[in-house]
């Protein structure tokens, strides 16, 4: 430590000058980044209509929106109306929601477990939701039941993890136990998924489950909007409201308590909300990996680790990212590429780049 009256050391002075960004400037900068991210999101949103099969040029799109908004008569074909309102808009909105949900839950889990390497899979949420959906497909359930089953088993998996770890840790600091229990529950549900696949009919059910696991939004229609929007809103609002408190949790259970945070309550709220987001994303889009891991990192690089800015940045970035990935998935080849393949191909090298670049920030 160097007190002003202690022997002066030049490196400190330099360090102080180099890092001398007043908080006001930083605050403005963080807000500006959020605004820019929002603009990028809007640009990608409109651009998404103009690519892929049945591309709709921007002027035409704006005409449709304008005339619809003011109740003017249609100047476009019925086919285009169907494509736009039953296929394109639902798919774009659902992609935004899934990306935002996965990124936000990843950001929350990383803070809860004080570990930047953690992702929505850690509590068993993804595996549980995956098992629920696989079972529903196995029994030829309809789309709504698949969603419900994914959600119910996602929550069951997380509850199992949460309560077993609490039983083991007996109310003491239990982050490590929680993560380990999460791994156990994940591998248990992964085994159940394999069992479901093993017993599935190899001619129709097995491919259906396998494709669903690879992730994709090809079958999204207008009714999926409310089914993903409702759980998203229920999950994201408490997270945004309590987000400043999450900062204290990333210093550890006891320190957060000593700062005056009711850690049990905050932890419970964030685990439930993040799991709801993960499960509903998995139920709608299948197992889409990497988003919950790399987007929070990117957000942290842009606006710093303070959840006041980091969580909204994750939401915006996650939405924009998955929408872009989905655009790629339906434009690169004539056949759609499953989303999890694309997110892994883009995510893996990007994550290695992050490891190189940001190694100081988490060692």
């Amino acid at each position: 430590m160097r007190f002003p009256n202690a022997v002066n050391d030049e490196s400190v002075q330099n360090k102080a000058v180099a890092a001398n960004v007043p908080p006001k400037v930083k605050l403005i900068r963080s807000r500006l980044v959020l605004v820019i991210l929002f603009i990028i999101l809007v640009v990608i949103f409109f651009w998404s209509f103009t690519v892929g099969r049945y591309a709709i040029p921007l002027p035409e799109l704006l005409t449709v929106f304008f005339r619809k908004m003011f109740g003017l008569s249609a100047t476009w074909s019925a086919t285009m109306e169907t494509v736009l309102f039953n296929i394109r808009i639902p798919r774009i909105i659902v992609a935004l929601i899934i990306g935002a949900a996965l990124a936000a839950s990843g950001a929350a889990y990383q803070g809860l477990f004080r570990n930047p390497m953690v992702s929505p899979d850690i509590l068993g949420a993804s595996a549980g939701a995956g098992f629920g959906a696989a079972m529903a497909i196995l029994y030829s359930a309809d789309a709504l039941t698949i969603q419900l089953a994914a959600f119910v088993f996602g929550i069951i998996a997380v509850m199992l993890t949460y309560f077993i770890s609490r039983l083991i840790a007996k109310g003491n600091n239990s982050v490590l136990v929680l993560v380990l229990t999460g791994m156990v529950v994940t591998s248990l549900f992964a085994a159940f998924i394999s069992l479901a696949k093993y017993t599935a009919d190899p001619n129709n059910k097995l491919p259906e489950i396998s494709f669903w696991f690879m992730g994709g939004l090809a079958s999204i229609t207008a009714k999926n909007i409310s089914r993903s929007l409702i759980p998203f809103v229920i999950g994201i609002i408490p997270m945004l409201l309590f987000r400043y408190k999450l900062n204290a949790l990333s210093f550890g259970e006891e320190e957060a308590q000593s700062l005056g945070v009711d850690t049990k309550k905050i932890r419970f709220i964030f685990i439930i909300c993040a799991t709801l987001l993960t499960a509903s994303a998995v139920a709608t889009g299948g197992m889409i990996g990497w988003v919950g891991l790399i987007i929070p990192h990117l957000a942290r690089m842009l606006v710093g680790p303070n959840y006041k800015f980091m969580l909204p940045a994750s939401v915006l970035l996650g939405g924009a990212y998955l929408l872009l990935i989905d655009d790629l998935s339906r434009t690169i080849f004539a056949v759609e590429i499953p989303l999890s393949i694309l997110t892994a191909i883009i995510g893996a090298p990007f994550f290695i780049y992050l490891l190189f670049k940001g190694k100081d920030s988490w060692t």
Binding site: M1, R2, F3, P4, N5, A6, V12, K15, A16, A19, N20, V21, P22, P23, K26, G111, R114, N115, P116, K170, N172, L241, F242, Y244, K245, N247, A248, S250, F251, G252, E254, E255, Q257, S258, L259, G260, V261, D262, T263, R300, G304, P305, N306, K308, D360, S361, W362
Partner: protein, 259 residues
């Protein structure tokens, strides 16, 4: 404000670590807790802070039992400085110090301009304003310790509890951190601190508590830190000497002997 521990027993679910402990710390008092590893110093602290439930007895603040106090009520009165550590995320020093305001914030709010002012005052008070914009994970261990003390001050506490605030610090930083804590206690904060060095107690304590296998003893540094007590507590031979500082004031020192 007076922190009173009354006939308290501490421990975990099955094991009682400490029995029938009673002591008080008031405004401007500086209590240094000495004892060998594993004797239960940390358990005692964790119980005072409410992380572990008491097995028996009570803890009072100005005569009020704190058992039913909420986390945020407690955090407005007691500031806690844990052992030196880092976070996994690169927060700025200002971010870290501002977290001391959480107990004073509403459920859904984040720090306001007034909170920033209070955080700046804490940094100023400890003479570390120059750290304000730096990244917490990149500064030295001694600087981090001061930042955590600044965060505790930002809670505006009347009692400060420090768990080995000098561990992992170099010799100069140990003394500088201790003198800062002493200054805070002179300014009216009640301080409870653990240390492994009897000399730290001689340097700044108004009270010393000794925890060893024989039990718990509390008194002035002169009464408690004796050659016999040190031998019984740590199992080593020491000599306690007295010397005069530059102003002719006596200071004691505890020196370990090789035989």
């Amino acid at each position: 404000m007076i922190l009173e521990i009354k006939d308290a027993s501490f421990g975990y679910s099955k094991r009682t670590v400490l029995r029938n402990i009673s002591f008080e710390v008031g405004t401007s008092e500086f209590l240094c807790l000495l004892g060998p590893n594993g004797v239960g110093k940390t358990t005692l602290f964790k119980s005072i802070l409410g992380f572990i439930a008491l097995k028996d007895g009570e803890i009072n603040l100005d005569g009020q039992n704190i058992k039913k106090w909420s986390r945020s009520c407690l955090a407005k009165v007691i500031g806690y400085v844990p052992q030196a550590h880092t976070t996994p995320f690169p927060y700025t020093v200002m971010d870290v110090v501002l977290m001391g305001r959480i107990a004073h914030l509403g459920s859904f709010s984040s720090p306001s301009r007034d909170d920033v002012k209070i955080a700046e005052e804490s940094l100023e008070r400890l003479g570390i304003s120059f750290l304000k914009y730096m990244t917490y994970t990149e500064i030295s261990g001694g600087e981090r310790q001061m930042v955590i003390i600044a965060r505790a001050l930002t809670q505006r506490p009347q009692i400060l509890i420090l768990d080995e605030p000098t561990s992992n610090l170099d010799y100069g930083n140990q003394v500088r951190v201790l003198l800062q804590i002493k200054k805070l206690s002179e300014e009216g904060i009640g301080v409870v601190m653990t240390s492994h060095f009897p000399n730290h107690a001689f340097l700044c304590s108004s009270k010393v508590a000794l925890l060893n296998k024989n039990g718990f003893e509390i008194g002035t540094a002169d009464d408690i830190i004796t050659e016999t007590n040190m031998r019984e507590t740590y199992g080593i031979n020491v000599r306690i000497t007295r010397l005069a500082d530059n102003h002719g004031v006596d200071i004691k020192s505890c020196v370990p002997l090789a035989n």
